[in-house]
Point group: C2
Chain length 147, copies 2
DNA sequence: ACCGTATTCGCAACGATTGTTGGTTCGCAA
DNA sequence: TTGCGAACCAACAATCGTTGCGAATACGGT
């Protein structure tokens, strides 16, 4: 994620105004290395600016996504996750707790792909699904705590 | 997708009944090599059995998914897609028309993955996003029809 | 054929996201 | 500094996809 300053400039450049609400969101996203939902972002933003509306959060997230400054992920049914990490990376998803982590993959260009049939590929997303260490020890451990 | 007969046996084996509605769905899915939504499956099922409820379609699809006989995909925001193709394959998604196609990838085991950190990987999903031949010629063609 | 239980269906409810409207505030270019 | 248009909020309503619920019905082992 670019800095709040850079994002402010980018917003102004396309005729969008830089409001305090947006600045709060720029700052939160810039520091965020996770994969928060809109609801989670709203919660965090509310701490810094009580009263900020969920509607405004959605609006700004959508703006950032369409500017290519933020990635929107739909890894599971349910709410979308937003990803401030714009570097070339992929994801691990824990089926147990729903946690999403970044993972870096190299050598993807060497895989053999059959069936492209004239399809133009713009992006490749790899999603590894499984169990995080916490959930693995919980489910695999016979002495695991209840539920 | 296994045959309707095999699915019937599998259902009975776990105490689930084989109803006419389910038989219609078994048959439809067995012949289907696409990635239909629940709505689309309901539409097709309604042709064979007028009056079948969308609720029943969801119920049976969910049963098949939890039995591992059917795959559920969440490739985009919006409705889930169901995949009767249980072979090891991956997907192409057209950003233009939303079409989903199968693609076969080999050599995935050779890619270098950093950041696994004790995470146990059970499945790997690769999604190629881009533009199908139809949408590519439409958008790239200066003489393309309006809108 | 009987009976217990699974299934069906229609409708209500849900979670996530977007649309609307009206009044107020505020960024920012001139 | 001013003025205009954008953005904000509140308060809803609406949409979409999916699931919960409950009364009526039907499967299938005996
Ligand atoms: Mn990420
Ligand atoms: Mn497929
Ligand atoms: Zn976990
Ligand atoms: Zn297309």
């Amino acid at each position: 994620m670019r800095t709040p300053q850079e994002l402010s400039t980018a917003f102004r450049a396309i005729g969008l105004k830089v409001t305090p609400q947006r600045q709060v969101l720029f700052s939160l996203l810039h520091q965020n290395d996770g994969h928060p939902s809109a609801e989670a972002i709203h919660l965090a933003a509310s701490a810094a600016m009580p009263g900020i509306s969920l509607r405004t959060v959605y609006q700004t997230l959508n703006d950032l996504v369409s500017m290519g400054e933020l990635q929107q992920l739909q890894l599971t049914p349910g709410s979308a996750r937003f990803d401030p990490n714009t570097s070339d990376h992929h994801h691990l998803v824990c089926d147990g707790c729903g946690d999403v982590r970044d993972v870096y993959v190299s050598g993807l260009a060497d895989v053999d792909v059959r069936g492209l049939d004239g399809f133009r590929v713009d992006a490749t997303d790899v999603v590894f699904r499984g169990s995080c260490p916490t959930c693995t020890s919980a489910t695999g451990d016979p002495s695991a705590p209840h539920a």
